[in-house]
Point group: C3
Chain length 185, copies 3
């Protein structure tokens, strides 16, 4: 009789051990950390040197560096150092800088490829988050990869969902970046 | 006597718990997912605007943007939007686009550095796979890193083995990309 | 009476199972592998073709490709193939090449963004390590992400702490790279 209760426990533990064999990150698809941030990009067009936060630095044959190339900007590379804010207001307090580059890489629609890092330095967050991936700009919402982090985001990985929150012609855009970490350490 | 069977169970579970402490990804070096895909790159040379899928957008001092630079193309950056196919035929059905850039980065042999994403959009696969790494072109087979994924490839990581499947002078090449995911979620 | 010992065991195992639910990599923040390497970069300035290991290949409007741009080099992209050494001596035996690019991406201080790979090929190490991230150059020590590896560094991830070990004006620098892997496979 004395053995019956332990055997029951044993099965409960066995089930528990089974579930523990797969680390939580593989089963649990809700983020272990979540951040929504915005950044604003003003591209240099020859007249806005004071306000511009990005510059065209490469262009295809026949194009110049103060106007995005004609064929859906195909072949342009822009380097940027953009202010990051907690809300969708360019004039809000800056909590860090988005630094890196984007490439326009399609001839028949607007798509870009992004390689950049959020350098966060505020009372909220200290550390970096690095992103890479294709950005099919014309889609309302698109996912890129979060490939690494440092500081508060030590070894983190995840997905960032990007939305264009505002834009003005070819000179200005603001992106909303919903960062979902699924590997947090 | 009643306690003996539970103790036996307990040891079995202990062994089981020990093995579960190390997630399978660390022990199992066969891929959890495997894809072999091809992509074709036709670089713009001044005459092939209709067919070209990539453009030289940066070059070292003295070089131009319609011909790869003389010293093993050192210093060229090309931006591309290349069709992806399931077999080694440029005219097969396209299942997505390879988008990003490559750099030629050695002065005394052909090597490149790749940063790009497979944007897959077909009945087979929906999602993106992002790659980064050095590509020593003259080696028959070379490995780069798969640093992230979205959609069907949510949070995946792995290794891609690249082989040059075909090329024609400086204007065209086709790469075979054997993607081995070792972290699948 | 016979049930008492098993219940004690059961609790021990339960504690053990609980700890095993979180893979060791999440708890252990000391590196599973550590490498300190150096690489030297000599940028092409129009006169040093023989020794130069990197070239400016993109620049903002008004700048050229043999001199870094005036506004904290903002907008320059350099491509490099730099020798890697085990100590801080440019003339030590080379154990591999650091290949990729850096971008200067701020207008009011020196910062860069790095995308590159260590291609190691020696009796010590065989394989590649790929890095990405923001490099706030003026800080004594700064962290970037190790986003992937191949060969001896198969599927590795980690953090690299970079320090400027030496520099001469705008033409030369040596970086000390302390690579700490926290995911080793």
């Amino acid at each position: 009789m004395g053995a019956k209760i332990p055997i029951l426990f044993v099965f409960i533990i066995m089930l528990f051990a089974l579930s523990s064999a797969h680390p939580s990150k593989r089963k649990q698809y809700s983020p272990c950390k979540n951040l929504v941030l915005y950044f604003d990009d003003i591209i240099y067009n020859g007249d806005n040197a004071v306000n511009a936060t990005s510059s065209i630095v490469a262009a295809p044959q026949g194009a110049n560096l103060t106007k995005l190339a004609t064929q859906f900007h195909f072949g342009n590379i822009a380097v940027f150092d953009d202010p990051i804010t907690l809300d969708n207001n360019l004039h809000s307090k800056t909590i860090g800088r988005a630094q890196g580059f984007y490439i326009y890489d399609t001839k028949n629609t607007y798509t870009s490829w992004l390689g950049f890092t959020f350098v966060l330095n505020s009372t909220y967050h200290q550390g970096t988050i690095t992103f890479a991936g294709a950005d099919p700009i014309m889609q309302k919402s698109r996912d890129i990869s979060v490939t690494g982090g440092t500081g508060d985001f030590f070894m983190h990985r995840g997905i960032a969902t990007i939305m264009t929150d505002a834009f003005e012609g070819e000179v200005y855009f603001r992106l909303r970046v919903d960062i979902k970490f699924f590997e947090c350490w």
